[in-house]
């Protein structure tokens, strides 16, 4: 058993590059998903019925489709429509679009729960709509939604493991190739599990810091 972990240690560069790729994938798509969500959320709450209805359809649709199937459709299905993406692009696009829907729903919930008074005070003070959003709406919104966004980022990290099926060299893919090369399944995958755990603990620590900041502001 110790010997097995020795083999995994000798392949540490592969595992670490997998961990790096998982981190890059998750961070990039979390940031992109959040940005898209900031466009989708106002549309979700729009007074234009067709716009609100269309975005609601997209968000609910994404929430009813398994991520793995969505990734398959982006990677294998889109070429039928003449859109061929390599595995990195497909992986990033799939993770981003899928999670943008979830992020939009999270932001909508937090936005709806915000008190109206500061916003109305901001309007009365003559803030322009962009400044109003940036200075008055955004900071408490992000602080309130922080923990749920943190959970969603953990979900993104776990979803990124699914991308091993389109041969994206992330952490699970690295563990699987070490296992197939040396036949050390337990050592390879348990190491991957602990690396994922570590990654999620880092996110949780980040969320706790944001929480403390939010408590200090109050």
């Amino acid at each position: 058993m110790i010997h097995d972990f020795g083999i995994v240690w000798s392949e540490r560069s592969l595992l670490l590059s997998g961990l790096g790729n998982t981190t890059i994938l998750s961070v990039l798509s979390a940031a992109a998903a959040l940005l898209i969500a900031f466009i989708l959320t106002p549309a979700l709450m729009s007074k234009q019925p067709w716009l609100a209805w269309a975005v609601r359809g997209f968000v609910d649709g994404m929430r009813c489709v398994p991520f793995l199937l969505f990734a398959y459709i982006v990677y294998y299905g889109l070429p039928s429509l003449g859109l061929r993406l390599d595995n990195w692009t497909s992986g990033l696009v799939a993770l981003t679009i899928y999670n943008a829907a979830y992020m939009a729903e999270i932001l909508r919930g937090a936005w709806a729960a915000q008190p109206r008074e500061p916003i109305e005070a901001g309007i009365a003070f003559g803030f322009s709509s962009l400044a109003l959003f940036r200075r008055i709406v955004l900071p408490p919104l992000l602080l309130a939604a922080g923990p749920v966004i943190g959970n969603q980022i953990i979900q993104i990290i776990k979803d990124s493991a699914f991308l091993t099926i389109i041969a994206l060299p992330e952490l699970t893919h690295a563990a699987a190739s070490i296992q197939s090369r040396h036949y050390v399944p337990f050592a390879a995958f348990i190491t991957a599990v602990f690396l994922y755990w570590g990654l999620c603990l880092v996110i949780e620590a980040g969320v706790n810091t944001v929480d403390r900041l939010a408590a200090a502001r109050r």
Binding site: L68, Y72, I73
Partner: protein, 215 residues
Amino acid sequence: MSAGDLLAILQGAVVTVTLSFVGILIGLPIGLALAVVRWADVPFVARVVAVYVSILRATPLVTLLLLLFFALPNIGIAIGPISAAILALVMNTAAFNCEVWRASLMNFPKDQYEAAQSVGMNATLRFRRIVLPQIVRVSLPGLVNEMSLLIKVTPVLAVVGVVDITRAAVRIGAQTYDPLPPFLVAVALYAPIVFVLVSLQRWIERRQVRAEAAA
């Protein structure tokens, strides 16, 4: 895509639904047991459960499944794709269910528990008659949410060779060189299953809000 292909995907749907159902059925009581262990603060065991839940909640189902499927035979435990799939689903969902159950146990009003104690109910009776019926109601939306999440991760089971909706669709796509139609059929099968659960969750929540307003 022929009628036979459609039938193959439908057979996959039976596998998906059956495995999810079995996973939910076994995972629910195990999650409750884990939550009770943490709630009662059983020495040492409660700590072990806390670490288990933390790790399992951070582990992608693919990684867990590959670990079980390849490592268990390595230490002399023969395991097929179906049993590995069920074991992985149960281990995963039990950890999430544990958190849902535990949240409602933590919020359980202490006065009711003490009232039951004062009329001389023993611990088992207190739990069965006073605590359980109430935490089931509080936990229900969270548990149903977890069920819809479980169904959304089942396509992963295809990785070890379980022929569910996704694997059936991938196989047909590979045979016909046109993967889009079978994938769309697969979406059309998953979406209603998940949608029913999501609607069920909303309905339960609305009903509880109304019941609280009436009380």
